[in-house]
């Protein structure tokens, strides 16, 4: 088994900053990334993107360039195109690269798995032509692909506005924006506004996007409810309720956004303690001020530890990197505290906007807790909300029991898309909290491997206890 001092998993802002900070203090560091180039989802292709596309994506995106440059100058080693399929409490990491599996060991591991779009089932969300907004943005960043005219954007949250603005810059004619933010959210968010104004650049940016979309006369519907995608083999139209009337817009592409959640499969697989965060509506690992998880040797930084955005992730990454360099004996506590203090302050400053955003863009409760019986919850196994409800009525009272009975969550995505939806259905039906409903038990391999890939593991003895 290959040994390292520090392994960082994930090449987004948190992972890059963590590896850079640790390597700069003298730690031997290996960064594993599923993508071919550093940057994560937020700074995807930031190094290779042509200037014209970089301008279109805006200055926040271009800010990723110096992060990548600093990483490259740090001496940390970069292993791209690498899938991580296991992490255990002994800091053993199972990887898949060029079709071959192997096990690595590190004295310390920093998980920087980042965020994914919050999966929210609604009628027709499995139809080709329905995608999360983040997917649309990835196609723009890495492939210069923009939607054909007439696309519809629906949901709630800052990314929806940002993407609409980017499409506008690219000359795309947007069919409609369906804002599903419940009207009451603003009043619930209002008490958090004064604190958010301390990070007012985020608020100003959001207002600027809205103004420019208005000036471009993009049809904008607020208070939209009851979203449905309809069609036979592909989406043909979006149907929704607006001011108590039913509306229908024909389109070949619907991009939705309901916020993002931590990609927590790896930290859950390792066995780190997680709690349900009822403000962010997601499972969130427990971490301390140096981003350490509940397991010795494993830290979690960035959106994978709770949603804070790219700037916060960069600070958290540096904090975790310093913390690890300290734990590895490369830096004393005084120097660690001195360098880390600024990042901790900036991190806290940056996070001040979050409580406002979380309250303002909280998805409509009926969407999360009361999907129609016919709505598909598990995309892989095609299990509907009705089937999940029946399982609950039959006495299956946590997500794992529902999974065993129905196969919901047993497909290739391993429950990444349906876990929270099943938990929320349980919580609603049984009137319990999410901690009681529970999350799926996540076991290795957390990415599908072929039997031959598993069998080819060089060091079976070390891997056997995983």
């Amino acid at each position: 088994m290959e040994h390292h001092e520090l392994i960082v998993i994930g090449g987004g802002p948190a992972g890059l900053a963590a590896a850079t900070a640790a390597a700069n203090e003298g730690a031997e560091c290996l960064l594993l990334d599923e993508q071919s180039t550093p940057g994560g989802q937020v700074y995807r292709a930031v190094q290779t993107v042509p200037e014209q596309r970089a301008r279109l994506l805006g200055p926040d995106y271009q800010a990723g360039r110096d992060l990548v440059t600093q990483f490259e100058q740090s001496g940390a080693r970069h292993l791209p195109n690498t899938t991580v399929w296991n992490l255990n409490g002994r800091c053993e990491v199972g990887i898949l690269r060029d079709g071959k599996t192997s096990l690595l060991h590190a004295k310390r591991v920093i998980i920087a798995s980042g965020a994914m779009e919050r999966p929210v089932p609604f009628p027709g969300w499995t139809l080709p032509g329905v995608m999360p907004a983040g997917a649309g943005q990835i196609l723009l960043k890495s492939s210069a692909l923009v939607p054909a005219d007439g696309l519809v954007l629906a949901g709630s949250g800052p990314l929806l506005l940002l993407l609409a603005w980017q499409y506008l810059q690219a000359g795309v004619s947007i069919g409609a924006i369906l804002d599903m933010t419940p009207h009451g959210n603003f009043w619930r968010a209002l008490p958090r506004l004064p604190e958010a104004l301390l990070a007012h650049h985020y608020i100003i940016k959001g207002l600027r996007y809205q103004l420019q979309l208005k000036m471009a006369r993009v049809p904008y519907f607020t208070g939209v409810r009851n979203l449905r995608a309809t069609g036979t083999d592909s989406i043909e139209a979006v149907e929704f309720d607006h001011r108590n009337t039913s509306k229908r817009i024909e389109t070949s592409l619907l991009l939705t956004h309901f916020g993002v959640v931590p990609d927590s499969h790896l930290s859950r697989c390792a066995g780190c303690d997680h709690r349900w965060d009822s403000a962010q509506l997601c499972w969130r690992p427990q971490t301390d001020e140096w981003c350490n998880s509940s397991l010795a040797g494993i830290a979690i930084a960035g959106d994978g530890a709770g949603i804070g955005g790219a700037v916060a992730a960069r600070h958290a990454g540096r904090i975790a990197g310093l913390g690890s360099a300290h734990a590895l004996g490369h830096v004393g506590s005084m120097r660690r505290d001195e360098i880390g203090r600024d990042d901790q302050r900036w991190l806290n400053d940056d996070l001040r906007v979050r409580p406002f955003l979380e309250a303002m863009f909280r998805p409509p409760p009926e969407l999360l807790y009361q999907p129609d019986d016919a709505t598909v919850i598990c995309r892989c196994e095609e299990i509907t909300a009705g089937q999940v409800r029946r399982a609950i009525q039959d006495g299956h009272h946590d997500t794992n029991q529902v999974k065993f009975l129905t196969r919901c969550g047993m497909g290739p995505c391993q429950g990444r898309q349906c876990n929270n939806a099943v938990g929320q259905l349980l919580a609603h039906e049984l009137d319990v909290d999410m901690m009681a409903a529970g999350g799926y038990r996540i076991r290795p391999p957390i990415r599908p491997l072929t039997i031959s890939q598993l069998a080819a593991l060089e060091d079976m003895q070390a891997g056997g206890g995983a």
Binding site: S36, Q52, G134, L145, D233
Partner: protein, 101 residues
Amino acid sequence: MPQRFRRLQEPDGRWVEVEIEGTKTRVLEGESVAAAIFASGLPWCRTTPVSGAPRAPYCMMGVCFECLVEINGVPNRQSCQISVEQGMQIRRQPGASPEYP
């Protein structure tokens, strides 16, 4: 079926040629197979093994597994995580099919 995505005009694009469902297609060097599928206009990439419903790439970042296709004869490849290569043979993946028992 109208095209869902169009490519922005960029002066310095570098291209490779792949075959998608037997049709030679020029795609951007380094992009994912899933992106190439959208660029080619193919409306869906697989059918499900449960109901046979058509599906297209969804999350584009490796967490939904909707984009599974057959690449160079190997099924179940996660096309959003694999970069295109010159001459690659990309085919739709039938879900409930005797070919994949």
